[in-house]
Symmetry: D2
Subunit: 180 residues, 4 copies
């Protein structure tokens, strides 16, 4: 059986972002796999630009997702919803082809405050419907007050959080194996 | 009484976009005003970039909105939600200061298909809550099948659409005058 | 292989409701199965009442769903969201036990106007997350202007609608068979 | 100036519900007013029943809301959304007439867990759009872990919660006075 390929997307571009750490923790929980992160530094979506030819970075992101057995999205909460950065990538990905139709996708989020991104996850869930992926229903991994939940080395150290993430990623792995 | 200042934002960057035409139609329905369009061609939101200093285009957009008596947002529907381009602007606008707190804001949308952007308007409505603007509740202006509703010169020609838009913009004007 | 059991829920209590007809059309598209409709005429959810013992009608509905291989929900749009009648049933169903965890569930809707229930489906999708069912992602079956889409005998006659419904119910059947 | 009339609605029927306590705390924060609670123990919405004549309890609720200068809704979170009980009342209220068009309405919620009802408030906000009330945008009053926030006499004792509620109710009062 070939090694599973997992792709991670992170909606925050900040180098030290909690969501980036969470994406890496998710990849580790997923278990043995070839992991790659998608690059969301894409041009702003613009149909006039698209007519001149699909930007290279968009094509690469689409191919990366197409090649994946499973995808995990780490999604911050900005203004109670996913970042424009992530939505902009989704807007490009929806053009021509369906890179993750029926593909197992899990959502995780870290957000300052006590709710851990409840609203951003709900909004992202709806943004994904049009792609018709196999979107895992749960458990929801919502990391509140991330500064207390990651240790100094940037590793998820809160026991409950670790356990929930493991459950979610076990489900993602199982879905990826079933599909293979 | 000084002339009212109306600012328009359009979530589509395409030059000939229906939403751009709709934004202009809304401005015309609003009546006598100094109209300016906000520029949404901003860098992708990135806190590392922000630390180096707020991008000039962001500062200009924020000042434009601060100076406005009312704002109209023309919002396409991409993947059942507002474009990343527009959300990216909101993400920048939420940093430092509250440019449209209590300010009258109206949403309009044009979208291919028959629903005219029902879902994108609902999603945008929720994204705006954190800014606490005076967001008009209705009537909802949802332009379906835009190719049939605009004439060859790009003017809104459908009678019902024109009337609904007028009602919404009358409400926006009234709210702007009350606030002045 | 035992016969599949399909359960239908209809959010409208009106005897001649379009959603009831749509639920029956969905059952027919599903193919050979033992079909039963759940009764949503439940008491209003009230924890004080619950303490006196689970109402018999709630227990029956829960057992019906537990016994099902698949569920189809026909969901009207009242005030842009699922009816209180349906939500009230969900509120009871969430008490003690998880009757449709991982169970294939499909949503369909009929609604006056042109959008066919886009918003009610999105809202219902989010209400179902806590139950963690296997909620089909699509295709979305949104019956607009139902008076034009059903014939005089109350049968779905619009070709596109019939086809989309068939695709959705084929997906539901396949999911039910996989699970069996 | 006549005394202001405030109407409260509570989505939980449980006698000792946290949301009921919160509704009463909101009424107290509102200041001098004639306060009345709407009765949500209505029949399940059913158009066949409606044809036989509007149920008396529905007419009374509608008249109560029509007579109010402001309305506060205390909304629990069941399955991440407003209770069916409350939605059922909204479904009846939307039939014939617009009892709270342009009327100031505030939403508050108490919910077990740490988020205090973030999702139910967002869902309710969207359910209210069709009524076109003057829905206050904030501050959001989201009471998490209510057992820690109310004292033994059922009074809101947490300082931050009290302050946020006061801000929201001050805004509601101001909107009611402006409208009068």
């Amino acid at each position: 059986m070939p090694e599973l390929r997992l792709v991670g997307l992170c909606g925050s571009l900040r180098k030290d972002s909690w969501n980036h750490k969470l994406m890496l923790a998710a990849a580790e929980s997923f278990g043995p796999a070839q992991f790659a992160e998608g690059n969301l530094r894409l041009p702003l979506f613009d149909e006039d630009l698209e007519k001149q030819g699909m930007p290279q970075a968009v094509t690469e992101l689409k191919e990366l997702i197409q090649s994946a057995d499973a995808v995990v999205i780490a999604c911050p909460e900005y203004n109670k919803a996913p970042p424009g950065v992530l939505k902009n990538a989704l807007d490009w990905l929806s053009r021509g082809g369906a890179p993750w139709k029926d593909k197992p996708v899990a959502i995780v989020s870290a957000a300052a405050g006590r709710a851990g991104g409840e609203r951003t996850q709900f909004a992202l869930r709806l943004m994904m419907v049009a792609f018709r992926p196999h979107l895992l229903q749960g458990p929801e991994v919502l990391i509140a007050s991330p500064a207390k939940v990651f240790d100094q080395d940037g590793r998820l150290s809160d026991e409950t959080a670790v356990e929930l993430l493991q459950q979610l990623m076990d489900g993602l792995r199982e879905a990826a194996l079933t599909r293979q």
